[in-house]
C-alpha cells in the first residue's frame, strides 16, 4: 500500500505559485482560502529560499488528535481527510497544525469561522467519489481517478513532489546525490516522524 507524502525541494522552488493556482483552479477554491501557499525566507537577500506548504498529511496528525468532533480520518494511502458535515469550525485544528494548513471561509466582519477547509491531497472527502456533492464540498478527487495532486504535477521546476513516500524519497535522494549537498527535507520530521 502506498503511503502518500508531499516533499518540497527548496533548492528547486522558485516561488512561482503554480501549485497555488493549480489548486485554486482544480478545486475552485474561493478567494481568501489558501489550501496551499508558498512561503519565502530571507526574501530579497542571499540565502533566499521558498517552500510550498499545505497540509502534509501527517502520520500522527495533530489536527485529528485535538478535534472535538472527531471529523478527521486517514485513508489507506495515508491521506488525512475530514468530514465537513461533522466539522463545527471550532479552529482547534488550526492551533494544532504545525503547518498552518487549516483554512476557514470568511463569514463576517467578526471572523466567525465556517467549516474548516484544507488540502485533500486531491482525494476529495467522505462523499461518493467525484460526485457533484463531493466536488462542491471538497473539490476534485484525482486520487480516485488514479492521478496525483495537481499542485505537484504542475510544479514549474518539479520542486514539489507528491506521491508514494518511497518513490518521492528516491527521486529526491538522486537529486541530492547529484548536487552533493545535504538533504533538506523540510517539514518531513514533524510530519512523518524521525524515520521519515
Amino acid at each position: 500500500m502506498a503511503r502518500m507524502k508531499f516533499l518540497c525541494d527548496a533548492e528547486r522552488c522558485i516561488e512561482c505559485n503554480s501549485c497555488v493556482t493549480a489548486c485554486k483552479n482544480e478545486h475552485e477554491v474561493p478567494w481568501g482560502v489558501n489550501r496551499r501557499r508558498v512561503v519565502t525566507l530571507n526574501d530579497g537577500v542571499p540565502g533566499e529560499k521558498s517552500i510550498s506548504v499545505a497540509c502534509m498529511h501527517c502520520t500522527d496528525a495533530p489536527c485529528a488528535a485535538v478535534c472535538p468532533v472527531d471529523c478527521f480520518y486517514t485513508t489507506d494511502d495515508g491521506i488525512v481527510l475530514h468530514d465537513k458535515d461533522l466539522c463545527i469550525g471550532c479552529g482547534y485544528c488550526f492551533y494544532a497544525c504545525p503547518f498552518g494548513a487549516p483554512q476557514y471561509p470568511q463569514q463576517s466582519a467578526f471572523g466567525v469561522r465556517g467549516k474548516m477547509d484544507k488540502c485533500t491531497f486531491c482525494a476529495g472527502g467522505p462523499l461518493a467519489d467525484n460526485s457533484n456533492k463531493e466536488y462542491e464540498k471538497y473539490g476534485r478527487n484525482r486520487i480516485a481517478e488514479g492521478k496525483l495532486p495537481l499542485c505537484a504535477e504542475m510544479c514549474s521546476t518539479k520542486a514539489l513532489l507528491a506521491g508514494d513516500g518511497d518513490m518521492i524519497a528516491d527521486i529526491y535522494r538522486q537529486r541530492v546525490l547529484k548536487r552533493g549537498g545535504r538533504p533538506q527535507t523540510w517539514g518531513w520530521e514533524s510530519a512523518y516522524g524521525a524515520s521519515g
Binding site: 478567494w31 481568501g32 512561503v39 519565502t40 500522527d60 467525484n130 521546476t157
Partner: protein, 959 residues
C-alpha cells in the same frame, strides 16, 4: 508532539517561527483582501467552497469528458496545455506530460488558464462610448461605424493617419494577416509589442550573425557548463524555463546572474553581480577585459568565424577594473570572477531579456552580449549560444511575420523588391498594392525624399508622438487620427499624461481585446471609442512560435465565449467593410466569415524563404503536436515514431518546401551537423569584404559541405558558376532564373544548396562591428536621466535627431538637463510571476489576482529611512517629466540603496485615481493599480526606437 500556539490566521510566517521576516506574500497579505474577494467569500453558504462566480464551468458527474490540447498564451516557453472539456465547457486542466517543453509543468499563470473560458470579467459584446457612457452595440453596427470613420479619415488625411497596432497575442496566421491587412490598407503604421520588448535584440543579433532570434533552446540548456543571465529574471518571467536551468545546474553548470536587483533568479545563482542600471556595455566590456587580458578568448574560432574583434579590443582596453567599477559600481573581484567562470566552463550560454533591451543604447547592449559570446567561441554550439528569452507566447512568431513598421513578413524590408516578392505570393498586381499607399513623397530619415510605401512607419513606442507632433515635423502627410489597439496593453508604454492627451486628440479609438484594457479608461474621451471583444487563443486554433523558434499547433478548446470573435474573423469583417477582402483573401478559403487557418499557414510557407518558415506545413505541425511524446526532452529530436528525425516544432529555419522534409534547426550556426540535418553556418548578410578584409568564414564550414570554406549567399548565377544549375528540375529552373535563395518561389535554389551540404544564406563571419549603426562598436552611453553627472561628459548620449521613424527624436537636449537634485533615485521596472504584460487577463483572474493585490515600489531600507517612509505605506513616485503615481512602499534589500523597482503589470489607476467607475459594468479587473509607465520617461533606442523603461529618475515622498 508539542503543540505550538499560533498568533493568528494570517501569520503563516510567524507560525513557522520565522520572527518578523517579511516576504512579498506576507506584505501583500497584510494589505488586506480586496473588495471583490471579500464579497465573493461573504456570500458562500457554510460548508461550500465552490467559487460563486464560476457557475457552469465546474466539472459535472456522469458527463463525458474530452481532452483537448493547446499551448499556453502567457510566455514564450510554449508550455502544452491540456483541457478537460464537458459539453463544450472547459471544466478542468490536466498536466501535459507529453510536451517536451514543459513536461507537464506550469507557472502560476499557466496553471490558471482555464479562467479564460469562464471569463467573468471579459468584454462580453461590442460597445461604444457615447456621451461618456458605454453602450452595447451589435457587431454589424460596430464594423459599419468604424469602417465609415476610417474611410473618412483616409479620404481627408491619407492612409497613414490610421494606426494599426497588432499583437504578440495573435497566432502566426493572425499575425501574418494583420501585417497583410495593413499593407492592403496602404500604410506601414503597423507595429506590435516586439518593438518594446526585444526589437534591440532582433536588430543587434541579426546584424551580428544573421538572424534575430534565440540561437538554442530552453531544453538545450541542459548541456550548458555555465549560464550567465543579464537583465533576465527567468524565475518570474519564464518559470518553466527554470526547470531546464536548474537541471543544468544540477548537472554541474555554474549560474551567474547580473542584475541591479537581487531577483528570485539570483537567489538560485552561484554568483550574483549587482550593477548600476543602464551600464550593461560597461559591465560586459569589463568582463571581456579580463578575457583578453588573460588570453581566455577562443583564438581559432575568432580567426575563422568572427570579423572586427580588433576594433573591439581597442574599446575594451579602456574598461579596466577601475573604470568598470567607476561606471557600473561593481567591485573588480566580482566582475573578474564572472569572467573567469565563463572562461573556465565552456560551452556557456548567455541569457538576456528586457533588462538589457529596453534602453536608449539597447542595440549596443545586445551586441556587447553577442561579442562576449563570440570571443569565448560559444555561439553555434550545443550548451552555448545566446538564449534570448522572448516575452509573449507568440512574440517570436509575430516578429517573424512582420507585424512591424519596418519589415514585411520574413524580415523582407520595405524595398520595391520585397513588395514585389510578397505581391507575387499574394497573387496580386504590385501596382494595385502600391496604389493603396499615399503617393506623395515625403522627406525620409536621411533627409531624402521617399515613397511612403518604402518608408518605415511610426513604431508603437512613439504612436503618441504620431498624434501629438506637428505634422510639419513628421515624415507623413498628417497626424495619426485613429488607432486600432488590437491586443495591446497601453500601460506597457511610457509617458502616461502625454498618452492621455494623445488619446483625447484622436477622432477614433478601437480596442480589440478580450478585456476593455487600461486604454478604455485612462482618458477622458466622451465619444468615438469602440470596444470589440476578441477571443483568446483557446477559442480558436493555429500555429504559435516559441522562443526557441519551434512552431507548435494549437487546437481549439472551446467556442468563443460571450459574443467574442477570433481575430482573423474580425479582420475579415473589417476588410469586407473597407473594400479589400477579395484581394486580401485571394488564395485563402473563407468559410462564412472565417478565413481557413490552414490556407493562411500554407501562404506563409510559400513566402517565408528568408528564415525557413517554408517547411512547416499545417500537416507536419499537426503531426508533431500529436506525437510530441516521441521527442527527446534535451535534443528535441524525435526518436522513432512518425516524426522520426525531426526536431520538435521544426525550429526555423526548416528549409525548402515541406516535401523536402527538413527537420528544423535546433541550434543556429552549429556547423557540427550537415545543413540538411539542422546544421548551419553564420549568415553571409553583410557582403563579402570590408576594409579589404574577408567577411566570409575561413576554413570553417558545416559538416558535409562541398565548399570547404566561406561562401556568399546563393543565387541563380552562383548555382551556374558552381555547375549545380542542372540539379534543378525544369520547373524549378523556370522560377529560379534571376532569383536568389530568398526570392525563388520554387525553393529549388535552397534545395540544391543543401543537397551539396551548403547553407542557402552563405557561410560568413559574424561581425562585431556594425558599421551601419550609430555606434559601430558598442559603447557605453549614460542614460538620458542619470544621477551620474560626472559620467555625462565622458559617456554622453546621442545628438537629437530631426527625423527617425518619421519623428523628431530627442537625446542630448534631455540629458543636458540635470534632474538629479530633485529626482535623485534611479528607477527601474520588471515582472511579477503572476502577471504578464499589461496584466489585464491576469488581474481579472481571481486565482492570480489574489496573489498580487497591490501595486508597489521596492525601496531599500536606507532610502526609506532617509525619506521617512515605512513598509506598506502609500507613497508618491514623482517623475522628472511631471507625472506621478501612488503606490505602496515595500522596504527590501532586494534593491540597492539609491535604486527603486516597480512591476509594470498594473493598470486601472491614473495618477492617484482608481478608474473602476469608468469600465463597462462588470469588466473592471479584480486588481487595479498605477501603471508604472504612467511616470516612466522619454527615451528611445538609437536603432529601433525601443523605449527606455529600465532606467530613469524619480523622487519618492509619503502620500
Amino acid at each position: 508532539m508539542k503543540l505550538i500556539k499560533k498568533r493568528g490566521a494570517e501569520g503563516i510566517s510567524t507560525a513557522f517561527g520565522l520572527g518578523e521576516a517579511i516576504d512579498r506574500r506576507a506584505f501583500l497579505r497584510r494589505s488586506g483582501v480586496a473588495l471583490g474577494g471579500a464579497a465573493v467569500a461573504g456570500v458562500l453558504p457554510a460548508g461550500m467552497i465552490r467559487r460563486a462566480e464560476a457557475k457552469g464551468a465546474s466539472p459535472q458527474e456522469g458527463v463525458e469528458t474530452e481532452l483537448r490540447r493547446s499551448v499556453c498564451t502567457h510566455c514564450s516557453v510554449g508550455c502544452g496545455v491540456v483541457a478537460e472539456v464537458q459539453n463544450g465547457v472547459w471544466t478542468g486542466q490536466e498536466p501535459d506530460f507529453e510536451s517536451p517543453f514543459n513536461l507537464g509543468s506550469h507557472c502560476a499563470k499557466g496553471a490558471s488558464v482555464r479562467e479564460h473560458g469562464i471569463g467573468e470579467h471579459r468584454l462580453k459584446y461590442p460597445m461604444k462610448l457615447t456621451g461618456g457612457k458605454w453602450k452595447k452595440i451589435s457587431w454589424d453596427e460596430a464594423i459599419n461605424e468604424i469602417g465609415d470613420q476610417v474611410l473618412k479619415i483616409r479620404k481627408e488625411s491619407g492612409p497613414d493617419s490610421v494606426y494599426w497596432l497588432g499583437s504578440a497575442k495573435h497566432n502566426n496566421e493572425q499575425s501574418y494577416l494583420f501585417r497583410k491587412m495593413a499593407a492592403m490598407w496602404g500604410t506601414n503604421n503597423v507595429d506590435h509589442q516586439a518593438r518594446i520588448c526585444h526589437s534591440t535584440t532582433v536588430a543587434g543579433v541579426a546584424n551580428t550573425w544573421g538572424y534575430g532570434a534565440m540561437t538554442n533552446s530552453y531544453n538545450d540548456m541542459h548541456n550548458c557548463k555555465a549560464m550567465l543571465f543579464i537583465g533576465s529574471n527567468a524565475a518570474e518571467a519564464h518559470p518553466v524555463a527554470m526547470q531546464h536551468i536548474l537541471r543544468a545546474k544540477e548537472n554541474g553548470a555554474k549560474m551567474i546572474v547580473c542584475d541591479p536587483r537581487f531577483t528570485r533568479t539570483a537567489a538560485h545563482a552561484d554568483h550574483f553581480v549587482r550593477f548600476r542600471p543602464g551600464t550593461d556595455v560597461a559591465l560586459m566590456w569589463g568582463m571581456l577585459w579580463h578575457i583578453f587580458e588573460n588570453g581566455w578568448e577562443d583564438t581559432v574560432y575568432v580567426r575563422q568565424r568572427v570579423w572586427g574583434m580588433d576594433q573591439i579590443r581597442e574599446e575594451v582596453k579602456k574598461w579596466t577594473p577601475e573604470e568598470t567599477e567607476r561606471v557600473t559600481g561593481t567591485p573588480p573581484d566580482v566582475v573578474k570572477k564572472a569572467a573567469q567562470i565563463m572562461a573556465e566552463n565552456r560551452p556557456g550560454t548567455i541569457v538576456w531579456c528586457m533588462g538589457g533591451t529596453q534602453h536608449t543604447i539597447g542595440n549596443n547592449n545586445t551586441r556587447s552580449y553577442c561579442v562576449f559570446q563570440l570571443a569565448l567561441g560559444n555561439i553555434g554550439k550545443s550548451g552555448g549560444g545566446a538564449n534570448i528569452f522572448r516575452g509573449h507566447d507568440n512574440v517570436q512568431g509575430a516578429t517573424d511575420l512582420g507585424v512591424l513598421s519596418h519589415t514585411l513578413p520574413g524580415y523582407y524590408g520595405l524595398s520595391a523588391g520585397s513588395w514585389n516578392h510578397w505581391s507575387k505570393v499574394w497573387g496580386l498586381d504590385p501596382e494595385w498594392v502600391k496604389s493603396r499607399f499615399a503617393q506623395d513623397q515625403v522627406e525620409g530619415d536621411k533627409g531624402k525624399p521617399v515613397q511612403p510605401m518604402n518608408y518605415k512607419g511610426i513604431p508603437v513606442s512613439r504612436w503618441i508622438d504620431g498624434v501629438l507632433e506637428d505634422p510639419k515635423n513628421m515624415g507623413q502627410k498628417d497626424r495619426v487620427r485613429a488607432i486600432f489597439l488590437w491586443g495591446h496593453a497601453v500601460n506597457s508604454q511610457t509617458r502616461g499624461p502625454e498618452m492621455k492627451k494623445a488619446m483625447e486628440m484622436m477622432d477614433l479609438m478601437v480596442i480589440v481585446d478580450p478585456y476593455p484594457t487600461h486604454a478604455a479608461v485612462m482618458n477622458d474621451r466622451k465619444e468615438g471609442t469602440y470596444l470589440l471583444p476578441a477571443s483568446t487563443q483557446f477559442e480558436t486554433y493555429g500555429s504559435v512560435t516559441a522562443s526557441n523558434r519551434s512552431i507548435q499547433w494549437r487546437d481549439k478548446l472551446i467556442d468563443p465565449v460571450w459574443e467574442s470573435l477570433p481575430d482573423h474573423v474580425i479582420m475579415y469583417k473589417l476588410a469586407k467593410k473597407l473594400g479589400f477582402a477579395e484581394q486580401f483573401f485571394k488564395n485563402i478559403q473563407v468559410n462564412g466569415e472565417e478565413p481557413l487557418i490552414e490556407d493562411v499557414t500554407r501562404e506563409i510557407n510559400r513566402g517565408m524563404w528568408t528564415i525557413g518558415y517554408t517547411g512547416q506545413s499545417p500537416e507536419r505541425l499537426k503531426l508533431h503536436a500529436e506525437n510530441r511524446k516521441t521527442f527527446n526532452t534535451t535534443t528535441l529530436k524525435a526518436e522513432g515514431g512518425p516524426a522520426d528525425g525531426d526536431y520538435y516544432g521544426m525550429p526555423w529555419p526548416s528549409w525548402g518546401p515541406p516535401e523536402m522534409k527538413h527537420p528544423g534547426t535546433p541550434v543556429l550556426y552549429d556547423p557540427s551537423k550537415p545543413v540538411a540535418e539542422g546544421g548551419l553556418t553564420f549568415r553571409a548578410r553583410f557582403g563579402v569584404e570590408r576594409d579589404g578584409e574577408n567577411l566570409l568564414a575561413e576554413a570553417s564550414y558545416s559538416v558535409g559541405s562541398e565548399i570547404k570554406d566561406g561562401y556568399p549567399e546563393f543565387t541563380a548565377d552562383m548555382l551556374k558558376q558552381l555547375g549545380w544549375w542542372d540539379d534543378l528540375t525544369p520547373e524549378e529552373k523556370q522560377l529560379a532564373e534571376g532569383k536568389n535563395w530568398k526570392t525563388d518561389l520554387s525553393g529549388g535554389i535552397q534545395r540544391v544548396a543543401i543537397k551539396h551540404g551548403c547553407a542557402p544564406f552563405g557561410n560568413a563571419k559574424a561581425r562585431t562591428v556594425v558599421w551601419t549603426f550609430p555606434d559601430p562598436v558598442p559603447i557605453h552611453r549614460e542614460p538620458l536621466y542619470t544621477p551620474r553627472r560626472d559620467l555625462v561628459t565622458d559617456y554622453p548620449t546621442y545628438e537629437d535627431r530631426k527625423r527617425f521613424y518619421r519623428l523628431p527624436t530627442r537625446y542630448a537636449s534631455i540629458q543636458v538637463q540635470d534632474f538629479s537634485k530633485d529626482y535623485p533615485i534611479v528607477w527601474t521596472s520588471g515582472r511579477l510571476v503572476e502577471y504578464e504584460g499589461g496584466g489585464e487577463e491576469q488581474r481579472s483572474n481571481p486565482w492570480l489576482a489574489e496573489l498580487q493585490q497591490d501595486m508597489f515600489v521596492e525601496i531599500n531600507p536606507t532610502d526609506a529611512n532617509n525619506i521617512g517612509i515605512r513598509d506598506g505605506q502609500m507613497v508618491w513616485v514623482d517623475s522628472p517629466e511631471g507625472a506621478k503615481i501612488k503606490v505602496k512602499a515595500m522596504v527590501t534589500r532586494r534593491v540597492a540603496p539609491g535604486v527603486v523597482f516597480t512591476p509594470f503589470h498594473f493598470g486601472g489607476w491614473f495618477q492617484g485615481q482608481d478608474l473602476v467607475a469608468k469600465y463597462p459594468p462588470g469588466t473592471a479587473p479584480l486588481v487595479r493599480g498605477e501603471a508604472c509607465n504612467t511616470a516612466m520617461t522619454y527615451g528611445y533606442d538609437s536603432v529601433t526606437q525601443m523605449q527606455e523603461t529600465k532606467v530613469t529618475l524619480c523622487q519618492i515622498r509619503p502620500a
